[in-house]
Symmetry: C2
Subunit: 185 residues, 2 copies
Amino acid sequence: MKKYSKKKLPLDKTRSLLEPGPIVLVSSQWKDDRSIMTMGWHAMMGYEAIGCYIWDANFSHNLIKKSKQCVINLPEKHLLETAIAIGNTTGADIDKFAEFGLTAEKGRKVQAPLIKECYANFECEVIDTRLVNQFNFFVLQVVAAQSAISPKYPETFHYRGSGVFMVSGENIDRSKFFTPEMLDG
Amino acid sequence: MKKYSKKKLPLDKTRSLLEPGPIVLVSSQWKDDRSIMTMGWHAMMGYEAIGCYIWDANFSHNLIKKSKQCVINLPEKHLLETAIAIGNTTGADIDKFAEFGLTAEKGRKVQAPLIKECYANFECEVIDTRLVNQFNFFVLQVVAAQSAISPKYPETFHYRGSGVFMVSGENIDRSKFFTPEMLDG
């Protein structure tokens, strides 16, 4: 399994990793129960808040609702099959860390475990639940973040539906079209 | 400018185009004012609803708030420079359709204009505004959608921050790991 050296990431750089829309793995814990879910339905809400749709049919839904915490972990392509398997099983039946050979790492700010094998980890607290009952939508605040030192740009995967995934492609630098104060993240 | 032949898209296929996290162009109109904004902060909320963070500093914010409608348009790579220019100007000063040579097309369900030069168009109505005051976050319901007949997968671009864009890369088919009822979109 690929190993990363990681550094703390300034919280307002969260958007640089999550705005492109990658599939992420959400880890959570409540008392003795912990789980991981695969998620593609998330949005930046400003530079340090994230909105996530987490179905109440997911075992993770209640863990996050009760603990008011979770970790968003960013996997690279080498974890594609693992992410699919995580998405197609339930934490009600198995411990997904053990089942899929993932390492639970202690966070700095939250109790929920980080996934060591992921490129980046965003520790989050739930800050708004007004849309949870009707839409299963949680608003999270990133309270600590770390990311791999290299590669500079992770090789993420994105879900196109119907079992097809898109892998992140070439990068195009258009910073010349932005003023310095626009280049915020 | 690239031209597409389009077909109606079943509403629950919206996720197949927006879940990967592409930059989109949001068009809106209120009375005689219309505008377009560039957006990367959006999430699927189920199969037919979309959550969008639209800053109140954006000219489009009020057009959408007042009309309770907008259109999410999906551009391909050939519109990257146009999307940057749209993001770096304000509809308070210019008509962006005229300024950037884009064609405003009449929608089937909403008054806001569609952008003909985009790969897909999602006509949306605002269905929840509880998070608008605090978070600038609108919940939209897709009420009509159309997409290009080809290519099968659009060449989208995604924002990595700091003026750098990621273009969608290779597709990996892992449908063999999903049961038929999981292959929903």
